[in-house]
């Protein structure tokens, strides 16, 4: 079996594969190979969901537990990469992350604005993708709620460059 390196997701999170057993490693290899050659988003999604599901249902895991496994998270990320490569979805940007932050950490958009000091009008434009926030004001606003900006690698190539230097 070819050497399996740690996986970096689109959002820059690293998924270590060293603790996976041989069958799980093979599962990840098959998923990666399938994703590379995939020319149809739906085909790939139908494939990986069934494949990963069958694999872990045989180990008596529930769907919720399966979602926590590394191969599921890798397959999920591969699905996103396939959709971006095929042009059927766009890569997420800071506005998507902002929308997710508001949705999950605040009761409302208004509450987020009150906490960050940003105007509701501005946030409305930003989330509707009509305007951008400057890096300075974004950094300031995020700082007020305990968050910060960071650069993350979004491809294995970036990881390799990092290791080389």
């Amino acid at each position: 079996m070819s050497r399996l390196t740690d996986y970096t997701t689109l959002s820059g999170d690293k998924i270590a594969v060293s603790d996976l057993d041989d069958e799980e490693r093979l599962l990840v290899c098959v998923l990666k190979r399938k994703a590379e050659g995939s020319q149809d988003q739906n085909d790939f999604d139908n494939f990986w969901m069934k494949f990963v599901s069958e694999f872990y249902l045989a180990r008596r895991l529930t769907h919720k537990q399966i979602q926590q496994t590394k191969p599921y998270r890798i397959a999920r990320d591969l699905s996103q990469r396939v959709s971006i490569r095929l042009g059927v979805a766009r890569p997420p940007d800071y506005r998507d992350q902002l929308a997710e932050l508001i949705r999950t950490k605040f009761i409302s958009r208004k509450a987020f604005c009150a906490a960050t000091g940003l105007s509701e009008d501005m946030i409305s434009h930003v989330l509707a993708r009509r305007k951008h926030l400057s890096i300075e004001s974004l950094e300031q606003a995020l700082g007020r709620i305990g968050y910060t900006l960071r650069f993350v690698p979004n491809s294995p190539r970036a990881d390799q460059d990092q290791e080389r230097s």
């Binding site: 689109l10 069958e23 045989a58 008596r60 769907h63 399966i66 959709s83 979805a89 890569p91 509707a128």
Partner: protein
């Protein structure tokens, strides 16, 4: 007269106002055609790889509903772009599609029997979901949030095993 049966068709059509349910239900009192199908079977032939002998040990068992539990088959489509009227009309980001799959797979846990993604018109996607009747409410909740995330006013769910539809609106 062997082999022939006289059926009297008395369809009752009930239009429910949108204040009540936002749905149109057409009920046929008698079953005209008997279709022998197993709702747990996938709607589309799975990819070739999954038909091969799996390399792992053990037998995969889907969490089938308790025997006798009602099963529902439904489909809904989501266009490939956000609504141009209430949003910017851009492509959805990749994470939003993943979120939907996650929700259908995880939140319907125990209620989900099968899910198949198909291409839909205009670059959209159609989802065919087979689930236990008890999970329909959870599906409704998921799609209500999906309206917000996919920037859609409504998502229409068509039940394939009965003449019924459900419209989920942005909360």
């Amino acid at each position: 007269m062997t082999g022939s049966t006289r059926h009297t068709i008395k369809p009752s059509i009930r239009l429910v106002t949108r204040w009540e349910m936002t749905a149109i239900t057409i009920e046929l009192p008698i079953r005209l055609v008997r279709v022998d199908w197993d709702p747990r079977l996938p709607l589309v032939v799975p990819a070739r790889e999954s038909q091969e002998q799996p390399f792992w040990r053990g037998e995969a068992r889907e969490p089938a509903p308790a025997s006798g539990a009602a099963v529902r088959m439904c489909k809904f489509s989501i266009p490939g772009h956000r609504s141009g009227k209430i949003s910017d009309g851009e492509l959805h980001d990749a994470g939003t599609w993943s979120w939907l799959l996650d929700q259908l797979y995880g939140e319907l846990d125990g209620g989900l029997i099968d899910i198949v993604c198909l291409p839909a018109a205009g670059g959209g996607r159609e989802f065919r979901v087979t689930l236990s009747a008890g999970a329909v409410g959870r599906l409704h909740n998921i799609l209500q949030e999906a309206c917000e995330r996919f920037h859609r006013k409504r998502i229409r769910v068509v039940f394939l095993d009965r003449f019924a539809a459900m419209e989920v609106r942005h909360p």
